[in-house]
C-alpha cells in the first residue's frame, strides 16, 4: 500500500505544476488581448476543451480509486476482516482509549471503531512530524469505523480533526499508537 505522505507529494507536484501553467496562460492572455491580431475563436476549440474537462473530471476519480489503496478498502471495509480492532469512545471532549497501549505490527490492517457519546468530533492519526496519516468524522448516534494498513514503524498521535467547541483543541493523545516491526 502506498503511504499517504507519498499521495500528498504527488498531489502537491501536480497542483503546483497546474497553478504555474494557468497563471502563465492568464498572463499571456492578458497581454495578447490588448494587442490587435486574429480574434476569431474556432468552436472546435471550445468543444475540445469541454471534452477535455469531461475526461479529466471522470478520470481523476477512476485514477485515484485504482492508485490510492485505501479508497477501495474504505468503500468495501465491511467485507474485510481486520488483523486488529480497537474500540475508542469519545465524551466530554476526551478520547477514552483501550486500557492497553495500542501496538500494531507493520503490514497489519487495523480497524478503529470510534463512538461519540455527545458531540460531533474527528479522529485523526498524525505522524511524529505532525503530518496527517488519515482522519474521519465521529458523529454521535452512528458507527464511525475505519480500516488502515500501517506501513511504517513509529509513534502516532491521535487528534480530534473536527471542531467541537473551544474545549476541543485540547483533544490530543500524544503517541497513543505505536507501530512496530513484526
Amino acid at each position: 500500500m502506498v503511504d499517504s505522505a507519498l499521495v500528498l507529494k504527488g498531489q502537491t507536484i501536480a497542483y503546483t505544476c497546474y497553478t504555474v501553467v494557468i497563471m502563465l496562460v492568464m498572463a499571456w492572455f492578458a497581454l495578447r488581448i490588448t494587442r490587435p491580431g486574429k480574434s476569431k475563436v474556432n468552436p472546435a476549440l471550445f468543444y475540445t476543451f469541454v471534452g477535455f474537462l469531461t475526461v479529466l473530471g471522470v478520470s481523476l476519480h477512476i485514477i485515484t480509486y485504482n492508485t490510492i489503496p485505501w479508497s477501495e478498502m474504505d468503500l468495501k471495509r465491511h467485507e474485510i476482516t481486520p488483523d486488529q480492532s480497537f474500540a475508542i469512545d469519545v465524551a466530554n471532549h476526551e478520547f477514552i482509549l483501550p486500557e492497553e497501549k495500542m501496538v500494531i505490527e507493520v503490514g497489519q490492517i487495523v480497524e478503529f471503531d470510534v463512538t461519540s457519546k455527545d458531540l460531533t468530533y474527528g479522529f485523526g492519526l498524525f505522524r511524529e512530524d505532525n503530518t496527517m496519516l488519515f482522519q474521519m468524522q465521529v458523529v454521535p448516534g452512528h458507527r464511525n469505523d475505519i480500516l488502515w494498513k500501517f506501513l511504517k514503524p513509529g509513534l502516532y498521535t491521535i487528534r480530534s480533526t473536527e471542531y467541537s467547541g473551544p474545549k476541543g483543541i485540547a483533544m490530543i493523545e500524544e503517541n497513543a499508537v505505536e507501530v512496530v516491526e513484526p
Partner: protein, 541 residues
C-alpha cells in the same frame, strides 16, 4: 482642487449625491455597507492570523472561536450578499428596461441584511457563541459551552438575514414577471420560464423551427437561477435556525430538551444541502452571470456560444442541488453511493460548468481584441484566475481517496475556499463595482488610477499568496478550526499573515480611492433621504 477640497467634495466635484435617484442611492448604500462588512472580515482575519502565530492576552480562546464563527458569515451575508443584492436589484430592472417591483421591499431587504448581520456579529462578540457556520448537531445546542441567550440573539440575527434574502427573492422574480403601471400586459409566466430555464430546456426537445425565443437576457437568467438557490437556502437555514432556537428557548425557560431527538447525520446532510446551495450554487451561478455581463459590457459584443452558456447555467442549478455529499466524504456512516455519486461524480460536473463559463468569457474577450486594460477588465481576469485556481483544488479534495488526508486541513480553507472567495468572487465583484461606478454615480471620475493599480496587484498577490501558504501548511497536516501552541506551523502562518496584510492594504487603498472619488459629503449624501421618490433607475435626461 486641493486635497482637502477633493476629500470633501470628491474628484473635480463631479459627484452630486442629490442628483441620485432613489434606486441609485439604495444600490450605493448596499455597496457601502457591503464594503464596511468586508473591512470587518479582513480585520477579523488578521486578528485570527496573529493568534495562529502568537497567543495574545486581548483575545481569549473563546473570543478566537467566536470570531472564527462570525468571520465567514459576515463575509458571505454582510459583505457579499449586500453587494450582490444591491447590484442585482439595480441590474435586473436596468437590463429589462422596467422599474423595480417594490422599492419598499428593497429597503426592508437592505435593513434586514445590514441589521441582521450586525446582530449576529455582536451576539457572537459579546457572548462568545461559537458553534461555527457548520453548526454540527448538537454543538449549537450545547449549553455547557455556550450561553443560550447569546445564542438566541445570534440565531435571530441570521434569521433576519434570511428574511431579507426572501424579500430579495420576491423582488427579483416579481420584477421579472410583473406588469408596471400603464404598461401593456406582460407575459409573466413566459418571462419566468425563460429566466429559470424551462423554456430553454423545452427547446432541447422541440424541432428547430418550433423553438421559442428567450424573453430575458442571459445575465437576468443567471440572476434568476442563482436566486432559486438563494430561496431554497433561506428555507433550509430558517428551518434549522428555528430548530436550534427551540432548544435555546427551552434552555432559557429551564427545560433540557434531549438533543438525541435529532439525528446528527441526517441533520448534517440537510444542513450541508442548504449551505452548499450558496458555495456550490448561487455563488457559482451569480459569478458566471456576472462574468458574462462584464464580458459583453466591456467588449460591446455578443457572448460567445450564448445558447450553450444558457444551458450550462441550468445544468449548474441542477448540479448545485445534488453535490452536497462531498462535504461528508469523511463521514463513515454516510452511504457509499452518496459519497461516490453526489460527492465525487456530480461534483466533478462543476469542473465542466465552471470551465465552460471560464472559456466562454475568455473567448468573448478575445473576439473583441484589442481591448484597453481597464480596471474592470483586469479585475475580471483576476476573478477568472481565482476560480481557475480554486475549482480544481476543490475537485481534488472531493475525492474519496484524497479527502481522507485533506479533510479539515488548511488545504480546504486555503487554496480552495479563500482563493475562490478572495480572488475569484471578490475580484469579480470589484470588476462590477469599477464598471458600474460611473452609471451609479452619474459620471463621477475615479480619483486615482495609480491607487486602482495598486489595489489590483496587492489584492491579487495577497489572495493567491495567502491561499498558497495555507495550502502548504495543510499538506503538512495543519488542521483548520484549531490552534497550535508549539510553533509547528509558524513559518506558513507568518507568510499567510504578510499576505493578509497585503489584502488589508489593498482594501484601504481602494476605500480611500472611492472616498476621494465621491467625497465625504457625497458619501454622507448617499445615506440622506432621497428627494425624488420615483422609480427611475437613473436620472431622466
Amino acid at each position: 482642487m486641493s486635497f482637502v477640497n477633493t476629500l470633501m467634495k470628491g474628484e473635480q466635484g463631479l459627484f452630486k449625491a442629490e442628483s441620485l435617484t432613489a434606486m441609485q442611492k439604495l444600490t450605493l448604500r448596499f455597496v457601502v455597507v457591503g464594503l464596511v462588512y468586508y473591512l470587518f472580515v479582513v480585520v477579523e482575519g488578521m486578528i485570527m492570523r496573529i493568534v495562529e502565530v502568537e497567543q495574545i492576552d486581548m483575545i481569549s480562546q473563546e473570543q478566537f472561536f467566536a470570531i472564527l464563527t462570525a468571520h465567514p458569515l459576515v463575509g458571505i451575508f454582510g459583505s457579499t450578499y449586500a453587494i450582490v443584492m444591491g447590484a442585482f436589484l439595480f441590474l435586473v430592472p436596468y437590463l429589462m428596461k422596467k422599474p423595480l417591483y417594490s422599492m419598499k421591499l428593497a429597503h426592508w431587504n437592505f435593513f434586514l441584511i445590514a441589521g441582521g448581520t450586525f446582530i449576529f456579529w455582536l451576539a457572537g462578540f459579546i457572548s462568545h457563541y461559537a458553534p461555527l457556520y457548520t453548526l454540527y448537531w448538537p454543538l449549537p445546542a450545547d449549553f455547557t459551552q455556550f450561553n443560550p441567550v447569546g445564542g438566541a440573539f445570534f440565531i435571530l440575527g441570521i434569521a433576519l438575514v434570511m428574511v431579507g434574502s426572501i424579500f430579495f427573492v420576491i423582488n427579483i422574480f416579481k420584477t421579472i414577471a410583473y406588469t408596471p403601471e400603464g404598461w401593456e400586459k406582460q407575459p409573466g409566466a413566459k418571462l419566468l420560464g425563460s429566466a429559470i430555464g424551462t423554456v430553454g430546456f423545452g427547446n432541447l426537445l422541440r424541432k428547430k423551427e418550433k423553438r421559442k425565443e428567450h424573453l430575458v437576457s442571459l445575465p437576468v437568467a443567471a440572476i434568476a437561477r442563482g436566486t432559486v438557490d438563494m430561496a431554497l437556502n433561506a428555507g433550509i437555514i430558517l428551518f434549522t435556525g428555528l430548530l436550534i432556537l427551540t432548544y435555546m428557548v427551552a434552555a432559557i425557560l429551564g427545560y433540557d430538551l434531549k438533543d438525541t431527538a435529532v439525528d446528527a447525520l441526517l441533520y448534517k446532510n440537510w444542513f450541508w444541502w442548504g449551505l452548499d446551495l450558496i458555495a456550490d450554487g448561487l455563488v457559482l451561478i451569480f459569478v458566471a452571470g456576472t462574468w458574462y455581463l462584464l464580458a459583453t459590457m466591456i467588449t460591446g459584443k455578443k457572448l460567445f456560444m450564448q445558447n450553450i452558456a444558457r444551458a450550462a447555467l441550468l445544468l449548474e442549478l441542477v448540479v448545485s442541488w445534488t453535490v452536497w455529499s462531498h462535504h461528508l466524504l469523511a463521514d463513515q456512516a454516510q452511504p457509499a453511493i452518496l459519497k461516490v455519486v453526489s460527492g465525487e461524480m456530480v461534483t466533478a460536473f462543476e469542473l465542466i460548468t465552471q470551465g465552460l463559463a471560464f472559456f466562454i468569457t475568455l473567448a468573448t474577450l478575445w473576439a473583441a481584441r484589442p481591448l484597453k486594460m481597464t480596471n474592470e477588465l483586469k479585475f475580471l481576469l483576476g476573478g477568472l484566475l481565482g476560480f481557475a485556481l480554486a475549482v480544481p483544488a476543490g475537485i481534488m479534495q472531493a475525492d474519496v481517496g484524497l479527502n481522507r488526508v485533506l479533510h479539515n486541513t488548511q488545504w480546504i480553507i486555503g487554496p480552495h475556499v479563500h482563493v475562490a472567495i478572495l480572488v475569484g468572487l471578490t475580484m469579480t465583484l470589484y470588476a462590477a463595482i469599477y464598471l458600474l461606478l460611473p452609471i451609479l454615480t452619474n459620471g463621477a471620475k475615479l480619483y486615482s488610477q495609480k491607487l486602482a493599480n495598486l489595489h489590483f496587484w496587492l489584492h491579487l498577490f495577497g489572495g493567491i499568496g495567502m491561499g498558497a501558504f495555507m495550502g502548504m501548511a495543510g499538506l503538512k497536516g495543519m488542521l483548520r478550526r484549531t490552534l497550535y501552541f508549539n510553533g509547528e506551523y509558524d513559518l506558513y502562518m507568518i507568510l499567510a499573515l504578510v499576505c493578509g496584510a497585503l489584502l488589508l492594504i489593498a482594501f484601504l487603498l481602494f476605500f480611500i480611492n472611492i472616498v476621494m472619488t465621491v467625497g465625504l459629503e457625497g458619501l454622507i449624501g448617499i445615506f440622506k433621504p432621497v428627494k425624488n421618490k420615483n422609480k427611475d433607475l437613473v436620472p431622466a435626461e
